[in-house]
Symmetry: C2
């Protein structure tokens, strides 16, 4: 069936031993070969159209040259840029990336981890963003390097890449404060997600620093990071605290849900209520009013996590390393001065 060309075929063609072929074709072999032989072998390889069999090589070397990427859902536009960032580093080095979707299901995540390990991945980038993750350290202990993205395990030597959530929330609140808002609310993400949790903490802290003591308590917790929950939470906020003039949402999708809820109530954005997002998802420029949000680096986060993983794989990560990526405030049309300036 598959008349695949192997080292043996090249060896026959070039009249040398298969081990010689292997060495001639290995760019960083430290074994010296005659130029004549080396070029003869390479010529034969090219002539026969040789393609190495990575499975066989991987079996012998115990390095499959593939890495696993675990994300919640590739259909969420947050993640493809991250994946491309990862690939931009790994693909040129000959790594294949196997992307799996966890759907935020811990069981599924666990099972998929096993699937990846069966395939002998050289490392795993976990973008699954749950805060507690028993078993992740196990994977590391069993010899598979791991890097987490958007997540940071406490007291763990696992390298991570995160965005500067705290600065992001600070930028947002300062922006609203400067516009004159004094009564603000927060739609927080689920606490199980480190992003949701970190942003809620940062929100409370920022409120207190700005002297918005009351606002720091006006929080509605979403059960998931989606539009439905955003819509539900915004109504909850309005009911609990009708005076608010601005809503800080833990991510863009919740903010879009807030849009829908406010519109349903006949309130206009930003005239009646200012709304902010977080992440600056791709395609976000399609929504109206254009959303004021925090831009986090997605492609770059992917790149950084891949670099960290490579270090772990090569063993030259000197202790735990973390990368915190800076964020940027993107002021657009969903925020303005409050209708009634206070006093």
């Amino acid at each position: 069936m598959s008349n695949r060309v192997t080292l043996k075929d090249i060896a026959r063609e070039a009249g040398v031993h298969v081990s010689t072929v292997s060495r001639a074709l290995d760019p960083n072999s430290n074994i010296s070969l005659t130029n004549e032989v080396s070029s003869r072998v390479r010529k034969a390889a090219k002539k026969l159209g040789y393609r190495p069999n990575r499975l066989a090589a991987g079996l012998r070397t115990n390095r499959s040259m593939s890495i696993g990427v675990m994300i919640p859902d590739i259909a969420n536009t947050m993640f493809p840029p991250i994946v491309r960032g990862i690939e931009s580093v790994l693909e040129p080095l000959g790594y294949a990336t196997i992307v799996v979707n966890t759907d935020n299901d811990p069981d599924r995540e666990h099972r998929l981890t096993e699937v990846l390990r069966e395939r002998g991945v050289d490392g795993i980038i976990n973008v699954a963003a749950m805060r507690s993750d028993p078993g992740l350290s196990n994977v590391v202990d069993q010899g598979t390097p791991v890097v987490t993205l958007n997540r940071r395990l406490d007291q763990s030597p696992i390298p991570y890449v995160v965005s500067d959530e705290k600065s992001g929330i600070n930028l947002i609140l300062k922006h609203l404060f400067e516009l004159g808002h004094r009564s603000v609310g927060h739609i927080a993400g689920p606490k199980e997600f480190s992003t949701g949790n970190a942003r809620a903490m940062a929100y409370k802290e920022a409120c207190e620093q700005l002297g918005l003591a009351e606002s720091s308590t006006v929080i509605s917790y979403a059960k998931s990071f989606d539009e439905t929950e955003g819509q539900r939470c915004v109504l909850e906020l309005l009911q609990n605290c009708p005076t608010i003039t601005a809503i800080v949402c833990a991510n863009d999708r919740l903010a879009f849900g807030a849009y829908l809820g406010l519109q349903a109530e006949g309130l206009s954005i930003p005239e009646d209520v200012s709304v902010t997002g977080f992440n600056d998802m791709p395609m976000l420029d399609l929504v109206r009013p254009k959303m004021t949000t925090i831009r986090v680096q997605k492609f770059e986060a992917g790149r950084a996590s891949a670099e960290l993983l490579l270090k772990s794989i090569r063993g030259d990560n000197h202790g735990a390393v973390g990368t915190v990526l800076p964020v940027e405030l993107k002021v657009r049309d969903s925020t303005s001065e409050p209708r009634e300036t206070p006093d």
Copy 2:
């Protein structure tokens, strides 16, 4: 380092030969084993936490249990649902999918094909959507089954999955016709893409059937399927034929570009000009006015292509097979009666 559990370990633990272990663990082994031995082996495997090494198995069986998926760009929201559809079939069967992005670059596509073959993928689903593809048949000839999605190679036994482009365009034009539009234009996709080409052909045909002889020639060809080109083309159309009251776009992104171009000209949608898209991309519900478009089945297309590929891999595809998926007209807010009803 990696104290990985192998068949040998289980064999020692259970006091049997490794080949016996292999057979005990193979669910569809036709070799009979004593229940006692079989369960002893399985118990030992569970106890030691055995995970098979797919690389080794793949090397021996020449089936890697992985398949390659080639798409233009995972960051284009059209593609993630397709990928998920593919995985919904393949993942439960134990296949890993390796997704690669071609960026519509033929060189890159070719290189990535080799990368996939090096890894011994059992088959390839190509969603790259270029019309001419020398080399694709080569891959098939060399023993790797291929299925194309959104593309259909002429005179080729390669199975394919496509949407019913022609019906889609017919539905759109009929809808516009019934609203009263008699002067229509088309922003066509690049001819190199089968989708762009098929839709343009269908457009001309549908115009003629409806007696819109002139409209069948009012076509502007985009160089790529993006907003910039949509914007450029809409202006071109307006210049060439200022009387048009509706524009049929070859896909949603071109239509969105048309939105931008029309808005820049101070024209409103749909009052001044009706605009239609194609595909019904995810996130499209965010744009205003909500776009009238053709919904194509994305997840389902992925599923279908995976099923076809499995058939090819198992060798029970009786000749070339193709699947044409039905489409659906989604009437929303970007189409209405023309401002001046004719006569």
